[in-house]
Amino acid sequence: MEVLVNGETAQVSSTQLVDILKELGFEGDFAVAIDGEFIPRSMYAEQTLTAGNQLDVLSPIAGG
């Protein structure tokens, strides 16, 4: 199905968040939001996505 990953369209083969994150190769420290709602790490295993969902995967950067 097609979802929006960090602002760009992507084809993913799974519907489970935990599998999608693996499939897309995200690594290190990151936090996730779906359609602008924070998804705690403890929810990754049971969280599912549907086509058109907007997935944001954020990581630490410098800031002022």
Partner: protein, 272 residues
């Protein structure tokens, strides 16, 4: 005499909070932060570029640099102060705050809700709304706000225990643009620490903020964009210590007319 800065129950020897952005390299960031003596460092979250899905940016220079900066920050062991830079609504800021708390494992938050892109001025309505909700959720909110006394008071009502009015817009280096407003805030709000956040361009301006009775200064660009960031970090450290000492010592009152500093008794013959 101990003269420590106390924020949300934690004490700090340094009155400089420093940003981690805009340095020529991650290593210079680390060296400058260490030279500054700062014990609190700001940082942020952005979309990860190492995913191998649609982004195609795996191993990009930007992502490697971000990884290095994060690694150095972790090694320094400072109090982390994640920001919500770039958020334009309370909802965005609250979501980003929750994501930050999970990654950085701290409930400290530099809350930014920007209302105008031209001068990056905080949106007071969104800021107060977000602050109230985040305090309820257990965050220790340090709001970046304008030098508006009433906004500051509303943020206190929302439960903030530290306020961070701007000296000038972010990255301008203009210093303390509205000293009347800032001194009014300091005079009216004595129950919580006040930190000048943003707009400081020179150590003299930071010293002035401390002389005026502000408890600390948060800055980034003035150090990161100096020709010698590490040296400038030392300069700010010295200036902030100096300003605080001057405040504690008590500045003389300004006078309109001259008054001799050399004693006038026993003047030599030519005055007779």
């Amino acid at each position: 005499m101990t003269d420590q800065l106390s924020l949300y129950g934690k004490t700090f020897n340094s009155r400089l909070l420093i940003g981690s952005a805009l340095y020529p390299s991650p290593a210079i960031m680390r060296d400058a932060v260490q030279a500054s003596g700062a014990e609190i460092i700001t940082l942020s979250l952005r979309r990860q570029m190492s995913g191998n899905g649609s982004t195609g940016l795996q191993g990009s220079v930007e992502q490697r640099e971000a990884n290095d900066i994060w690694k150095y920050i972790q090694q320094m062991g400072l109090q982390l102060l994640p920001n919500t830079a770039g958020c334009k609504s309370a909802k965005e800021a609250i979501t980003l705050a929750e994501m930050s708390r999970e990654i950085f494992k701290t409930d400290w938050l530099k809350l930014e809700v920007i209302g105008d892109d031209y001068n990056l001025q905080p949106d007071p309505y969104g800021l107060i709304e977000a602050a109230a909700e985040l305090v309820k959720r257990g965050f220790k909110v340090l709001p970046y706000c304008t030098d508006d006394l009433v906004v500051c008071q509303k943020l206190l009502d929302a439960g903030c225990e530290v306020l961070m009015p701007w000296g000038a817009p972010i990255g301008t280096g203009q210093g303390l643009l509205n000293k009347y407003n800032l001194s009014s805030i300091r005079e009216r709000i004595t129950s919580v620490p006040l930190i000048i956040d943003a707009g400081i361009g020179a150590p003299s301006q930071a010293a002035e903020a401390l002389e005026m009775g502000f408890d600390a200064v948060l800055l980034n660009t003035a150090v990161a964009k100096a020709q010698e960031p590490v040296m400038m970090a030392q300069a700010f450290k010295a200036a902030i210590e100096s300003g605080r000492l001057a405040h504690n010592a008590g500045l003389m009152l300004k006078r309109q007319t001259a008054k001799p500093s050399t004693p006038t008794v026993g003047m030599p013959f030519w005055h007779q």
